[in-house]
């Protein structure tokens, strides 16, 4: 009887003392509502240009971003395109319009990008532009 009373007392005491025991903060399961740190991206989708279905008799402009060997790659692609499609006309912008050779250069803005595109369109009238990017 006495042992049972002692056991009961220990159990009751534990129930009252348990909330006071230190609980590692990290181990406590909590409901969290947290703010997302990313920020929204809001953009109306850009409409891409209509696609072509053949390169026969088309003008293809090649644009180099100035990174090493990019022009070698484009020169070889030009040669291979002519082999496969003899009627294609190639315009190497990096030879005839050296101002088009640049990466995301300092000073590039939406306005300068659009202005360059307009110049290429009006002056060279390409049906397709193949560009080399990155390293």
């Amino acid at each position: 009887m006495r042992r049972t009373s002692i056991k009961l007392a220990i159990i009751v005491l534990s129930i009252f003392l348990a909330p006071l025991l230190p609980i590692a903060h990290g181990q406590q399961v909590t409901d969290w509502e947290l703010l997302v740190p990313e920020g929204a991206v809001i953009k109306e989708p850009l409409k891409l240009a209509p696609r072509i279905t053949t390169l026969e008799n088309k003008t293809v402009a090649l644009r180099w971003n100035g990174k090493p060997n990019g022009e070698i790659m484009l020169n070889k692609l030009a040669e291979l395109l002519k082999e496969k499609i003899p009627t294609v006309k190639i315009v190497k912008l990096y030879e005839v319009e050296r101002s088009t050779i640049h990466t995301e250069a300092p000073g590039s803005t939406a306005q300068s990008v659009d202005a360059e595109a307009k110049m290429i369109k009006e002056k060279y009238k390409p049906d397709l532009v193949i560009g080399s990017q990155a390293d």
Binding site: H25, G26, Q28, V29, T30, D31, W32, E33, L34, L35, P37, E38, G39, A40, V41, I42, K43, E44, P45, L46, L48, A49, P50, R51, I52, T53, L55, V60, R63, G66, P68, N69, G70, I72, M73, K76, L77, L80, K84, I85, H102, E104, P106, G107, S108, V113, D114, E116, A117, I120, K121, D127, L128, V129, I130, G131, S132, Q133, A134, D135
Partner: protein, 430 residues
């Protein structure tokens, strides 16, 4: 970006990107609102290999180029135009503090170190540190073009462990950068380059002492709460809102530790004025300076007892770290107090120091390959000189060297070597 301009003009494109960089290309594409683009992937690298190898890679991709030119169609994507920048979205989780951190890490919202969870209560407390309204859109951060609001700054500041009183520095930093970015300040390149570039924030003025932003011994190191957390919040925002995550689109080959945190103050004990006065502010103003840097270069000079000797040593260190990017950006020289004492006792003026460093911090022209990437950055009057042993200055003009004082005891100064954009400064408004 230029290929997207072509598309907008009504001409279809095919873009060749190496498999290591196509992720960056797609990120830029998305940030500009393009649903998709025709990419032809080529094996990386294209640069730094022999001509025959480049041509072999071209043969591998030619059929794909033709296919992308004639058969490819873009995927459709839903417009995000009806979303708003404020208030921020929320995420509900049930778990321990460690589980919250694991979730944030998985989302790539952390720098790999534990964060403080950004609860509504904590963000509200943080916002109390600034008078700027929480819904104010400061800028869109490249390359992701995420909209950064004052609330967004507060969310990331909570995560980084900032105190609310630090908020004006962060808000002012991004306001300053936002205005400069509109005028072509090259933030985009610093976010995505393969170079190890990171933006240092320098807090300048009486507010530095008020906030405890440290300008003395070990200022670039740990143990200074304001330095550590303001810098951390700033870098976290560049990643989370700007999307500059490693390994893509942040293509930094090695990166640098400044991408964890890099925020300091400059000393007000500067015999030549302060960085902020050289950048157009008054002595009584508070300003924050942002400067993208490749590296910090130590000027270790324990032996010169004259100002000229220390400056000559400094010029030599400048020449060691010469690169073409310097000419877009310039240098900040932070003179250690002991060096500053020696140089000022020899009566050097700011203009004299700049002129001396410009004249002495030079590299031989023969280091550059005509037509190589560095050649384009050489001033014309040097490139066209008949004598090929001419010495090329590492900056375009003496005023591109800005001089401050910082640091503790010891005979050291430090060069902050700029890249992609010049140092800019803006007012800190509470």
């Amino acid at each position: 970006m230029y290929q997207l301009g072509i598309e907008k003009a009504g001409i279809p494109t095919v873009t060749i990107a190496t498999n290591e960089f196509v992720g960056l290309a797609r990120s830029v594409m998305k940030s500009e609102g393009a649903p998709d683009m025709a990419f032809a992937e080529v094996q990386h690298p294209v640069g730094g290999i022999k001509k025959e190898e480049v041509e072999a890679r071209a043969k591998v991709i030619i059929d794909d180029v033709i296919k992308k030119a004639t058969s490819w169609k873009p995927a459709a994507v839903a417009s995000t135009a009806k979303e708003s920048y404020y208030p921020a979205k929320t995420v509900k989780l049930q778990g321990t503090y460690e589980e919250v951190n694991a979730f944030f890490f998985k989302q790539k919202w952390t720098d790999g170190l534990p964060i403080f969870p950004p609860t509504r209560e904590k963000v509200k407390e943080m916002l109390a540190g600034t008078s700027a309204p929480p819904d104010k859109v400061i800028m869109k951060l490249p390359p992701r073009q995420g909209g950064l609001t004052v609330e967004g700054i507060a969310i990331n500041a909570v995560m980084a462990g900032c105190k609310p009183e630090y908020m004006p520095v962060l808000v002012s930093a991004f306001e300053t950068i936002g205005k400069a970015y509109e005028k072509k300040w090259n933030l985009r390149q610093t976010q995505v380059t393969t170079n190890p570039v990171s933006i240092v924030l320098i807090v300048s003025g009486p507010i530095a002492k008020e906030l405890g932003v440290h300008s003395g011994a070990g200022l670039f190191g740990p143990e200074y709460h304001a330095n550590a957390t303001i810098g951390r919040a700033f870098q976290t925002i560049l990643r989370n809102v700007g999307g500059a995550h490693s390994p893509s689109p942040n293509q930094a080959t090695h990166g640098q530790s400044g991408e964890f945190t890099m925020c300091i103050a400059e000393s007000e004990s500067n015999p030549w004025g302060t960085l902020r006065t050289q950048l157009g502010f008054k002595k009584e103003d508070n300003a924050v300076i942002a400067f993208p840097i490749f590296q910090r270069r130590n000027v270790n000079d324990h032996w010169n007892t004259t100002g000229k000797g220390i400056l000559a040593n400094t010029a030599q260190e400048m020449a060691m770290v010469e690169n073409p990017m310097l000419r877009d950006s310039g240098i900040i020289l932070l003179i250690g107090p002991e060096h500053a004492d020696t140089i000022s006792k020899d009566k050097w003026t700011l203009a004299d120091m700049r002129r001396f460093l410009y004249e002495w911090g030079r590299v031989p022209l023969s280091r550059f390959t005509p037509g190589g990437s560095g050649w384009a950055a050489i001033p014309k009057w040097i490139a066209e000189a008949p004598e090929q042993t001419n010495m090329v200055p590492v900056v375009d003009k003496p005023e591109d060297i800005i001089v401050g004082v910082a640091g503790g005891a010891g005979k050291h100064s430090v060069l902050l070597i700029g890249g992609y954009a010049e140092a800019i400064a803006g007012p800190i408004n509470k």
